[in-house]
Symmetry: C2
Subunit: 309 residues, 2 copies
C-alpha cells in the first residue's frame, strides 16, 4: 500500500520523510495539486456502490484502494500550473482531487477540515485551556479601549498576528512585539488585534507531536528576547524530556482538534512552566531534527506507513 | 439566548427565517463578516480558562455565552467592506471572527469544516452510496479515453460541473447537458470532467432536510428535460411524502456528513425510484416554500431556537 504526499516540488522537509519511507521500503507517490490537470491526472468511478479511483504523476500511478495514508504537507493550489489557469479550473480540480481522496479510507495527516479549524488561533487558545495547558491571558479585539484596558491591566503585553501568516502583498515580517507603555491603540479599530500577556521567558520550547510520539526541544532565550523566530541568540535547540502533565495535555489537545500532527510552541518561564503559545498543525520540523537529532521525520514516516483500516 | 445569522445584506431567504424567529420571540443578530472591521466589531478575551466574547453590529451587541446557534447563511468575505481591504486583513478578520465563534458552545447550521467537506461532489456520491441512496454511475476524470469508454458503456450520459458553481469570470451558465454520441472528449485533459449516467426522469425531487424535519417536493419534468434549474416546464413544485427508505438514507447521510441542513436533489425515474444527484449543504429553500407552502423557514427557525448545550 502506498503513501501519498501532497506537496510542491521544493520541499526539503518532505525529502527527509521520503528518505525514511524509502528506508522502510514503503511505496510512495509525491503529488502536487498544482500539476492537475497536466502532469498530474486522475480518474474516479462511482458505480453501483463501488468506488475506484487513481491518481497519476510523472508516470507513476496510485490506486485509491491501495492508499494507506495521505500527508498534506505543502500542496500547491490545484491547477496553478495549468496552461490557462483560472479560479474556476482551480475549483473544479480541487473538488475532483480532494473529493476523490476523501472517498478513500486512507488516514490523513492532517484531515483538511480539521486542519482548517486548527488554524484558528482564538480557537486554539480555547482548546489549549480545555486540554490543561497554562495559557497567557489574551484578547482579540477591534476596540481601542479594550486593547488599552488589557495593556494597562497586564502591563507587559505583546502584539502578534491573529492569522499567523505575515502579509505577502507587500511582504512584511511581523515578529511578536512588546507593546510600549505609551502605545496609541487607535488603529486597533482598523483590524482585529491580538494582545497577549508577555511571558518573561527563559527558553522557547518546541514540542512536535506525531501521532503518539512527542519530541520536545528547548532553546535558551536571549535576555529580553520576545520572538524566538527572529534574531540570533547564540543558543541551539536541545532535546528535553516531556513532562507527564504536558504529555496528557498534548494528547487531549490533538484529540479535541483531531490532528495527527502538530507543532506546539511554548514559552518556559523562570519557574519552569511551559506556557502554551500556539499549535501549528503544519509546522516545520526540519530545523529541530537537524539541531537535536530527534528522529521526527522517521516518526512521520512510521505514522504514514501504518496500513489504512 | 440569541441566534446569530451570518449573511450579507440582501438575502430574502434569511428574511423569511428572521420573520419566524420574530414570531417566536427569539432574539437574533444578523451579522455580515464583510462589515468587520467597521460597522461590525468584536472582542474576545481568554483569561485563566475563561472565555468571554462579544460581537456587535448596527448598535446591537451579542455576547458569545448567550449564543444559542449560528446560521451560516450567506456570509460575505471578512473585511470586504473595509476602507482598505486586503488579503491579509481578510485573513486576520476571518480568523478572529471564526476563531471566536468556534470557541463558543453554540450549535452550527452548518459547521464550516463539515460544510467544506460536504461541498466535495465526488465525496457526496460516496456518502450517498453508503447511506443507501441509488446513485447513477459517475466518473470524474482527466482522461479522454476514460470519458469515451464511460460514454460508450452507458450510452446516455450527462456532463456537469464538478464543483457545482458556474464560472463567474467571465460569468457563464453551465446547465447539466446530455453528451451527444459523436462528442469529442479531447478537452477532458484540460480539466477534470464529471460524466454521469443520464436518468430519464419523470420528475425532479427536492428534499430539504432541517435537523430531523424533512420536506420533499416534486416537479414533473418536461419530456426530455435534463436540468431542472433551467427552462419552463409549465409544472410547479408540489409537496410529496418522504418514503421511509429515503428518510433513513437522509438521516444516515446527514450523520455521516455532520450536517444540520441539506438540500437534496433527486431524479425520479419511470419506476418511481429517486436517484441521488447531489446534496447542497447551503441550498436555497425559498422557492420551495413559496410554491409548496411547506414551512421550511419555520423549521429552520425552530432548529436555531433550541438552546445551546
Amino acid at each position: 500500500m502506498t503513501v501519498l504526499i501532497l506537496t510542491s516540488e521544493e520541499d526539503v522537509t518532505a525529502d527527509m520523510v521520503v528518505a525514511q519511507l524509502h528506508k522502510r521500503g514503503v511505496p510512495l507517490v509525491r503529488f502536487d495539486p498544482a500539476d492537475l490537470p497536466g502532469d498530474g491526472t486522475l480518474s474516479a468511478e462511482y458505480v453501483r456502490g463501488e468506488f475506484r479511483g487513481y491518481l497519476s504523476t510523472g508516470g507513476r500511478v496510485v490506486s485509491m484502494d491501495g492508499l494507506r495514508s495521505i500527508w498534506v504537507r505543502r500542496p500547491g493550489e490545484p491547477a496553478a500550473h495549468a496552461p490557462e489557469p483560472s479560479a474556476w479550473l482551480t475549483a473544479e480540480s480541487g473538488q475532483a482531487l480532494y473529493g476523490m481522496l476523501h472517498s478513500t479510507s486512507a488516514r490523513w495527516m492532517n484531515e483538511p477540515g480539521a486542519a482548517a479549524r486548527a488554524r484558528l488561533k482564538p480557537w486554539q487558545l480555547r482548546v489549549a485551556h480545555r486540554s490543561g495547558f497554562p495559557v497567557p491571558a489574551t484578547v482579540v479585539t477591534t476596540y481601542p479601549q479594550v486593547a488599552r484596558q488589557f495593556a494597562d491591566q497586564y502591563r507587559h503585553v505583546v502584539v502578534k498576528a491573529v492569522s499567523g501568516k505575515p502579509p505577502h502583498d507587500p511582504p512584511m515580517a511581523l515578529p511578536t512585539t512588546l507593546v510600549p507603555p505609551d502605545a496609541d491603540f487607535a488603529d486597533v479599530a482598523a483590524g482585529p488585534t491580538l494582545l497577549q500577556r508577555y511571558i518573561a521567558k527563559e527558553a522557547d520550547i518546541r514540542l512536535t507531536c506525531v501521532g503518539e510520539e512527542l519530541f520536545a526541544a528547548r532553546k535558551t532565550a536571549a535576555p529580553g528576547q520576545v520572538d524566538g523566530r527572529y534574531g540570533e541568540t547564540g543558543h541551539t535547540w536541545e532535546p528535553v524530556p516531556v513532562p507527564d502533565r504536558i504529555r496528557r495535555a498534548v494528547t487531549r489537545y490533538t484529540e479535541l482538534a483531531q490532528l495527527a500532527y502538530g507543532a506546539f510552541d511554548f514559552a518556559e518561564d523562570a519557574e519552569g512552566t511551559w506556557w502554551f503559545l500556539e499549535c501549528n498543525q503544519g509546522g516545520q520540523f526540519g530545523f529541530i531534527e537537524l539541531e537535536t537529532e530527534q528522529p521526527v521525520a522517521d516518526a512521520v514516516a512510521q505514522w504514514l506507513s501504518i496500513p489504512a483500516d
